[in-house]
Structures are given as C-alpha cells and as structure tokens.
C-alpha cells in the first residue's frame, strides 16, 4: 500500500519498541467514546444499508433477499434514475451535470472574484458580500430563490426584470428544460463565497517576492497568472473542488425545498431519489441500493482526499 512505501521520516506513527505490540490501554480508553459513537451511528448503519440494498426491504427490515436485482432495475429499468438516450436524463445524469457545472462555476467564479478583489481597495466588502450566502441555511436559500424564480412577475423578481425587456414570464422551475440549470445557478450562488474565501487566502499566501521577480524578468500579467499564480494555488483549488464535489453528490436540501424533484421527476438528484424511494414510497431496499450507488461514487473522491491529507501538503 501507499502508506507502507512512504519514507519513514514522514510516518506520523510513533516507533514501536520491541517486536511484540504493546496494548496501550490509556489510548484505547480515550478512543473508546468516539469509536463507540462512530460504530453505532456510522459503521453499523452503513453495513445495514449494504445488506438492505440486496433485499426487498419491506418495512425497512430484511424481508426477502433479491441479490443485485435492485441495482439492475436501477440502471436498466428506472427512467427516473437513469434514462440513456440523447440527451440522457434521470437523477444520475442530473447529478453529473451538477458535479461538472456547479464545481467548475464555483471554482472559476471564486478564483475570478478572489483575483480581482485583491486588486481593489474595498476587497473586504466585496468578499463579505460574496461570502454572505454561506451564512444562509440551504433551506432558506431554496425558499428565497423559489420566490426569485416565481413565474408570476408580481412575485418573481427575475420575471419582473425580464418583463421590462418584454420577455417571459419564464417558468424556470416549471420546465424540465430549465429546471436543472436554474437549480445549479442557485447552488453556485450559495457556494461561490466558500471558494472565494479559500482561494483568496491562498493568493495571499503567494510571496510577493516571487511575483515581483517575475515582473522584473519581464513576465506579462497574463503569464504571471497562468504560469505562477495558478500553479501555486493548484492545491487549494483541488481542496475546494473536492469539497464541492462531495457536497454536490449528496445534494438534497435545495431540491427538496425548491422542486421536490419536479416537474415530474426531472430535477431529482441521487440523494433525492434515495429519500423518495425509501421513505414516501416505502421501497427501503431500493432506496438502500441508491444509497450504495451514492457511497460508491463518493469513495474515489474520499480516497483522493485522504491520500492528500496524509501527504501533509494541504497548506500551500
């Protein structure tokens, strides 16, 4: 494994004395409460869910073993979850759109705002404004934007604005063609502040000497940005990116508050499908299978994250 191949000097573990291992009872005692909580509330439910995903799961209990049938139905016979074709649709595809566009837009806009803000005097004000949505609960963001998108221009801000130009009214959340984009825009609005603040801090960490040296050597601002700034903040960018990807794979609150997965089922995400199948519809085994799919999608991201953390290079 990767851990073993690392140089000994980096190994955070204390060297063990002697050959046989000694049980450090004090350490175990200290770990016990945390371990217990993790096992009860994390490990056991996870194992239970894996089991349930291969079961019919009537009433949320093991009732009839079905093997992989839940998974097969999920991928081959559930247009609400995945419909192949052009364009594809379904919860899984919606989540792919979210991962790509939400993550990219958050990082891109976050970096843009951070870079531009460092060059003006009222930087703190701009960053405070951009960061403000982070202080609003996701459910509240959902409610606020439901009003902004409301089709009736008397209520909906956006349609009132469009009305000035003689457009609309547009039902942003009412049409399968626009609903996912409208929701992604809300998600970006809510998260871009996070990216801005982290990336802005990273930019501050770049030594001015490096930049000045580049300028003395005659580098253009453009090449300073792409050849010096971007490489030097690449690690914070990936931290932000990975955090956003994890957030978006488990995205539920905005969908639940704003559209309930609608119109029809066109704005469902994986997490929303899981809720919908397991709880209101009572298909616990099927819902558990969706949860497992979600878990499997998260695993590579988490492995990536853990490996990077253990490489101890998080701070640029």
């Amino acid at each position: 494994m990767a851990v073993a191949s690392r140089p000994a000097s980096r190994d955070p573990r204390p060297k063990q004395r002697g050959d046989g291992f000694q049980i450090n009872w004090t350490a175990i005692l200290f770990l016990l409460p945390a371990a217990l909580l993790l096992i009860i509330f994390l490990v056991f439910p996870a194992i239970f869910t894996v089991g349930l995903s291969t079961d019919r799961g009537r009433g949320g209990e093991f009732s009839e073993f079905v093997g992989l049938r839940n998974f097969i139905n999920l991928f081959t016979n559930d247009p609400n979850f995945l419909r192949l074709g052009f364009p594809p649709s379904g919860a899984l595809w919606n989540n792919v759109l979210w991962v790509i566009f939400y993550t990219f837009l958050c990082v891109f806009l976050g970096l843009l705002i951070a870079v531009m803000a460092t060059r003006v005097r009222y930087e703190a004000i701009i960053k405070a404004i951009v960061f403000l949505p982070m202080a609003i609960a996701a459910t509240a963001i959902g409610v606020i934007w439901s009003f902004v998108y409301f089709p009736n221009p008397n209520t909906g801000l956006l349609n009132a604005l469009l009305g000035i130009f003689g457009i609309g009214p547009v039902a942003f959340l009412g049409s399968p063609d626009t609903v996912n984009w409208a929701l992604i825009a809300v998600g970006v609005w809510g998260s871009v502040g996070f990216a801005t603040v982290i990336l802005s801090a990273a930019l501050k960490g770049i030594s001015t000497e490096v930049l000045e040296a580049a300028r003395v050597d005659g580098a253009s601002e453009r090449s300073i940005f792409f050849k010096i700034i971007i490489p030097m903040v690449s690690l914070p960018i990936s931290v932000v990116g990975v955090t956003l990807v994890v957030n978006v794979i488990k995205l539920f609150d905005l969908i639940y508050v704003m559209t309930r997965g609608g119109p029809g089922t066109s704005s469902r995400t994986i997490a929303f499908s899981m809720y919908q199948e397991a709880f209101p519809a009572g298909r616990y085994g099927y819902g558990a299978a969706i949860a497992i799919v979600m878990l499997l999608l998260l695993v590579p991201v988490l492995i990536f994250n853990v490996r990077r953390f253990s490489s101890e290079r998080v701070t640029a």
């Binding site: 291992f21 009433g59 949320g60 209990e61 139905n73 039902a171 049409s175 029809g264």
Partner: protein, 451 residues
C-alpha cells in the same frame, strides 16, 4: 498495519454488541403494531384485539375546512362512545411521517393511507390490521356502500382500508354568468366540448385553464378520457398488473385529451400551463380577475374555488357564479361512467377502541356528520343527499350515486415508482409518447412485480 490489528478485535466486539439490541428492536418492531400480524387471519372471525385504553389517535393530511369537517366526526364519535379521539394532521411528508412512526413501533391507531399503492405495501409488510382481524365482518358492512367501493381497500383478498370520503372526478367547472355573457352553453359530448372551446375563443376568451405543473391533474384528465372511450373493463385491466400501456387505446386517449389541451386552447399556452400549479389554475377561472373559462377537475374544485385561496366571494353564488357540468361522452360512449378519487382509512393498532371507531366510520350516522361539513361526498349509501350544504356538492353526490359505474382514480392504484403524471406532462409538451409508453410499460411491470 499493526495499528489495525490492535483495534480490529475491539471493533468486532463492539459491532456484535451494538448489533444485538438493534436486531431485537427490528423483530419487535414488526410485531408490535397491533400485536397480531399472523398472515391469513381468521375470516370474519371474532376480534383478537386487546381492551382499549379509552382513547385513540387518528392521523391524516387534511387541514383547513377538510380538518374541521373531520374533527366534527371525531367529536360525534366521542360523544357516542366516550372514547377520546385525538386528531393529528401532517400536512407535508405525510407518508414519510407515517412510515417512520410505524418503524419506530409507535403507529397512530388509525390513519388515512395516502394512496392505494401505499395501502398495499403497508398491508403486505404487516403494518395494517385487516377488518377481519379487528373482528368486523366485511359482509355486514358491504350493504352500506355502493358496489365496488369497498373493493378499493382490499389487499390480497383481505379488507384493510375503508373508503371514508370521495369526490367525483367527472366534473367540468365554469361560471354560468360568464357563459351567458359569452352566449355559450355546457357541452354533452366531446364534439360539443370542442365546439364550446372554439366558441369561447371566437368570443375573445381563453377556453381552458390547466395546472399541468401538478402531474395528477393530467392523470385525472387521462383517466376520465380513457374510461369514457374504452369502458370499465379496459379501464380495470389497464390499471391492474396486467395492464398494457403500449396498447393503441392508451395512445388514442392521450391524443383525444390533447385535442383540447394544446397551445391554442389553454391559458398561457403549453409553457404557461406547464408551470401552473393546481390551485393557481383554479384561480384562473374563479378568481376576481379570471383569465379562462373552463376547468376540469374533481368535485373538490368547488371547495377550493370558494375558499380563502381563491375567491370567498363566490360563497352563496353556487349555481350562478360557479357550477359544473358532467364530463361529456366521447363518440357516444361513456354515458354514466364516473371516475372518483378518495381516501381510505386503515387501522394500525388492534384494540377495542379502534374497532369501535372503524365500525363507526361505516355507519350512515358518521357519514352524515362528515357530509354536513361540505367538503366531501360520503361513500355510504344511506347518507341523505339533503344534508350536503351546497347545491354543487348535492349534485356531485347524485352524480356518483346514480352513476352506471364508478371507477377509482387509476393512477392512485398504480405501484410507487413510475410516474404517469410525468409521462403525460411530456406528452402535453409534445414529446413522442410512443417511446415514453414503452418505457413506462417496462418500468410499471417491474414495479408491480417488486411491490
């Protein structure tokens, strides 16, 4: 890896320790509600329920006027039997809350069940108490209901849910006053309806309001159209596990619907209607500034149109400012056929109080009290139509009781999962329905099997 070896035995011990009580909870959870979940219980045998504690809890998702009407029934029950009856309303996430209470081993005594698919799944997982387990003989109450109505609550030959309230879904709503101004009249057949639609347009009006953002408004359209075109046998077959959604009759019914529901005829066009919710669509016809003339929807539209959400001024103007006419026949077919929607109530605890309450619900006395509230039609035949507070509901009750055949809302009979409403929304927006129907057929077949 020595670190892991240290912790591993420990983790296994913990896992075993934590798993044990959870396992116990699981098994008691499945038997606790009601205490008796033995399959194939005694047919019409004596009740095995325990003695009640003198109070019951009933949950539903009704609020507002519906809640007021129902609590009157509960009060009448308490007065008659001395058993306290508490009402709990969960307006949102009703199914989730109900299932969570069941899983937690703390179900309400009696609950309205949201949809027949849910009734089937709850009954099969052993969470519901059938009427025979309660000690209520199905044959003894059958005579209280119109034929076929009790069958909706039957799962695997056992009666679990009693239909307690219903509404016709064969009513088209309009304003007689405005019809007079426009010089048009209600239609009796589909051609007449098309002509009426054209006449309203010719008079400068917009004929139809549609709340297509709520998929069920379109399933209601489809069900009544399909029933009128194809009759009860085809209807029953379609909404059963043997239903064939790729049959040409399905496509024909959708096409028929769309001769009225299209860009030219609905307020706001296809895009606008797709974004309009049910209540907003009702408001388009009955608000103080109406923008359309006709709305097809269940009998409950009357209560909503004259309620606080739309236009309370209409109260007392039933028959002049608001009225309905029966959904028309199609090519001479479907005379006297009516679709209806309704709610079933089921017991989740087996004791004498619950038995008394379920029995009470089947009496004309309870139906009468409920009917006086003015929000529902009682399915009980002996309820005098004179007790309904408005002429609209009276006429609706007469439509249902005098119908040649009534059929329950088909999409409510389908298993959870595939979304007929979403399919019809796509069809309304002009997507190719043939492919969607094939896909729906595959998904619904699986859903029936998996239920």
């Amino acid at each position: 890896m020595s670190k892991f070896r240290l912790v591993a035995p420990f983790m296994i011990v913990m896992l075993v320790l934590t798993a044990c009580p959870a396992g116990d909870g699981g098994t008691t959870g499945s038997t606790a509600p009601g205490g008796s979940t033995a399959p194939g219980g005694s047919d019409g045998g004596s009740g095995s329920g325990a003695e009640g504690d003198g109070s019951i809890t009933v949950t539903s998702l009704w609020g507002g006027a519906e809640e007021t009407a129902f609590t009157a029934v509960l009060e009448a029950f308490t007065e008659k039997t001395g058993i306290e009856a508490d009402y709990e309303a969960n307006r949102t996430d009703y199914a989730t809350v109900l299932r969570t209470r069941i899983q937690g081993g703390n179900p309400p005594d009696v609950a309205i069940i949201p949809g027949i698919g849910t009734l089937r799944s709850l009954a099969r997982e052993g969470s519901l108490i059938s009427l025979s387990e309660l000690g209520i003989d199905q044959a003894s109450i059958e005579g209280n209901y119109a034929p076929g109505i009790l069958d909706v609550g039957v799962v695997d030959d056992e009666l679990y849910g009693i239909m307690v309230k219903l509404n016709s879904k064969a009513t088209i709503w309009y304003s007689p006053e405005r019809f007079e101004e426009l010089g048009v009249e209600p239609a009796e057949d589909w051609d007449g309806l098309l002509a009426l639609t054209e006449d309203i347009k010719a008079g400068g009006g917009t004929p139809w309001a549609l709340g297509a953002a709520d998929g069920w408004t379109l399933t209601d359209w489809f069900e009544i159209t399909y029933l009128k075109m194809n009759g009860v046998e085809a209807y029953d077959a379609l909404f059963s596990p043997d239903g064939d959604w790729t049959d040409p009759t399905v496509q024909a019914a959708i096409d028929q619907m769309l001769t009225i529901l299209n860009e030219e005829n609905v307020d706001g066009g296809v895009d606008g209607a797709s974004a309009t919710a049910f209540v907003d669509a009702v408001a388009k016809v009955f608000s103080t500034s109406p923008s359309a003339e006709l709305y097809y929807g269940g009998g409950f539209v009357g209560g909503i149109a004259t309620g606080a959400d739309v236009n309370e001024e209409l109260q007392g103007q039933e028959g002049t400012a608001i009225d309905w006419f029966p959904f028309p026949t199609i090519d001479g077919n479907g005379e006297g056929l009516v679709t209806y929607g309704g709610d079933v109530m089921a017991a989740l605890v087996n004791d004498s109080d619950v038995k008394a309450f379920m029995e009470y619900l089947t009496t004309a006395e309870a139906g009468q009290v409920w009917a006086e509230g003015g929000t529902i039609i009682s399915p009980i035949v002996d309820v005098d139509t004179g007790v309904y507070p408005t002429s609209l509901i009276q006429a609706e009750a007469e439509q249902v009781t005098s119908a040649e055949a009534v059929r329950f809302d088909g999409s409510d009979l389908l298993p959870a999962g595939p979304d007929l409403g979403a399919l019809l929304q796509s069809a309304f927006r002009g997507d190719d329905t043939a492919g969607l129907l094939e896909e729906f057929q595959a998904a619904i077949t699986t859903a029936w099997e998996e239920e």
